[in-house]
């Protein structure tokens, strides 16, 4: 992703610059908190089959609606007596997968298009109209269409969400490119004889990295929630397999009787969203050379 590019192209002594960024990141207690939360989430997701106390799809009807703290069911159970903790751990897999894949898709397509639209005025109109087109196209129809063509699956849901997020990325990157392009150092690079690709890759993209990072950290939680919508319609993950979004949606029906079944995955989504935002913010600060003054 863009972040990696920045680090690679920036430092004169490469490794020292990267080390400096990491050091700066680790000096920030907030960043560490975010990293720890994300680390736990990723760890729990990766090792869910070994860590989870129960199979996520096993029903224990006699234990239905067990409250959190019930022996064997730390976070309680849902209407079918499925262990909420185990389902959250497996649900994290699906949700993180969707979040990353969707954002990777939108950045991979949106960033180059946004850069081109902002830099080459001749194709700006074309790309901007394409953006309008995608924006005008209903997201759900797009997802249904994709599911019809390629089958309903988590990956296809992620791609549909990613496509829906492209216009936002294009617009943000385009406006940042327009702003940067008018600055003197870009003109200076042009009069030095730099080519378009050089100017974009070295002068515009690294300076636009901060807005791209922020956009990505906001888009990941949005994608996790978008997956719940699609799964609710049967276009994403197939029941009974869990994702955080579907758990939240399913628990709505009996929320009065067993609020924990909705609250627990909700808290998990919130923590992940918060952690991504914090890490994104800290990363942006750590990459900013001006931060070294502190």
């Amino acid at each position: 992703m863009a972040v990696a590019d920045v680090t690679v192209s920036a430092g004169t002594p490469l490794s020292s610059r990267r080390r400096k960024v990491v050091r700066r990141l680790l000096r920030n207690p907030l960043a560490i908190t975010g990293l720890v939360v994300l680390g736990i989430a990723v760890f729990a997701a990766l090792f869910a089959p070994w860590l989870a106390p129960h199979e996520p799809t096993d029903t224990h009807l006699s234990q239905a609606f067990a409250a959190p703290g019930t022996p064997g069911y730390v976070l309680g159970t849902d209407d079918l007596g499925r262990d909420v903790l185990s389902r959250i751990m497996f649900g994290l897999r699906a949700s993180l997968h969707v979040g990353m894949l969707a954002v990777a898709t939108s950045l991979a397509i949106g960033v180059p298009l946004g850069l081109m639209a902002g830099y080459f005025r001749t194709i700006d109109a074309l790309i901007s109209r394409f953006t309008d087109l995608v924006l005008a196209f209903p997201f759900l129809i797009l997802a249904v269409g994709l599911a019809a063509i390629r089958g309903a699956s988590l990956g296809n849901a992620a791609i549909a969400i990613g496509i829906a997020q492209i216009p936002g990325v294009i617009r943000i990157v385009r406006s940042e490119t327009l702003r940067l392009k008018s600055l003197d150092f870009v003109s200076a690079a042009i009069v030095e004889g730099a080519g378009d690709l050089w100017v974009i890759g070295r002068h515009i993209l690294p300076n636009a990295a901060s807005v791209i990072i922020v956009q990505a950290t906001v888009a990941i939680p949005a994608a996790i929630l978008g997956e719940a919508v699609l799964s609710f319609l049967g276009l994403g993950i197939q029941p009974p397999a869990p994702s955080l979004g579907t758990m939240l949606a399913d628990a709505q029906q009996f929320a009065a009787k067993a609020p924990w079944a909705a609250v627990m995955p909700g808290v998990a989504i919130m923590l992940i969203a918060l952690a991504f935002n914090i890490v994104g913010d800290s990363l942006r600060d750590a990459l900013d050379p001006k931060a070294s003054r502190r």
Partner: protein, 366 residues
Amino acid sequence: MSAISKVNTEPPAGTGQVGSTAAGTGQAGSNAAGTGGVGVPVLEVRGLTVTFRTEDGPLSAVDRVDFEVADQEVLAVVGESGCGKSVTAMSLAGLLPRTASVDGSVRLDGRELVGADKKTLRSIRGREIAYIFQEPMTSLNPVFTVGNQIGEVLRIHNGLSRSTARKRSVELLKLVGIPSAERRIDDYPHQLSGGMRQRVMIAMAVACDPKVLIADEPTTALDVTIQAGILDVLRGLRERLGTSIVLITHDLGVVADLADRVAVMYAGRVVETANVNELFAQPKHPYTAGLLAASPSAGRHAGTHRLNEIPGLVPVLAEQPNACTFADRCSRARDTCTTEQPLLTAEGTPNHHVACWNPVREPVEV
């Protein structure tokens, strides 16, 4: 000034064509005195016209401008705001937006730049013609160290490796008088002052030893004390690297300090060109005379005297009449001035050209 001593005492930065300082200056002087067809100019501008397409129709910001710059010469282009001097400078580097159309001819070492394709321009830019911007605060990329940015030019044009480029960047920083260059090279632009940044900009501009350096108001955004240092650096470059400089400025003090020859612009046209001493001693165009009279000097304006001013306003550029654009404000205007455009013609000495139907001939007290 520490800057100038630095420039003069550093060893030549591997350029090969650095003559002795004295010889360089002498040559520049003789060139400046004898640019009447003697020697081939490095930069030759003929009939340069820049027209912007605007909603109110075409607007010519630069109207049939002619000038040439000899080897190692410093030509100052002077004029007030909006007279077209920056547009002229930008058109030399091909930096104008798409809404501008450029006509006429700009020849660098005999090669035509107007209408040249992108590839040709890219190979010329940076290597043969370089540009210094007015605003040092925004002309450096905030996310890279200065060494990295100076090295960029070298890597584009000379294909130098990172480490060689770095070594050369240190030399260049020393050349422009940055103290402890070895440490400064790893600084980011925000860690440097405006004057230091402008020095870095100059180092970037001369990295590939360009033939012509275009300096667009290089000192305007700086303190007066810093200005002097930057002017010293530019003078040092001319003497040590043999660079010709086109200096765009509205500051007559800067002109007197650095320039060999001056082109005075008014409302998109060059109205007078002369050697710097001659211009200051005997301005022939009424506008030049007015400009000189309007600049404060310690002796004359101390105390009660009010500064002389030129009455009226600069004409709107869109209405370039077939007349002298200065006629409305000119006390010496005659009937011909409003019906026919005066062209640059030699007046007095062969190097002194003036575009005026009724030039000032009597000695001016300045």
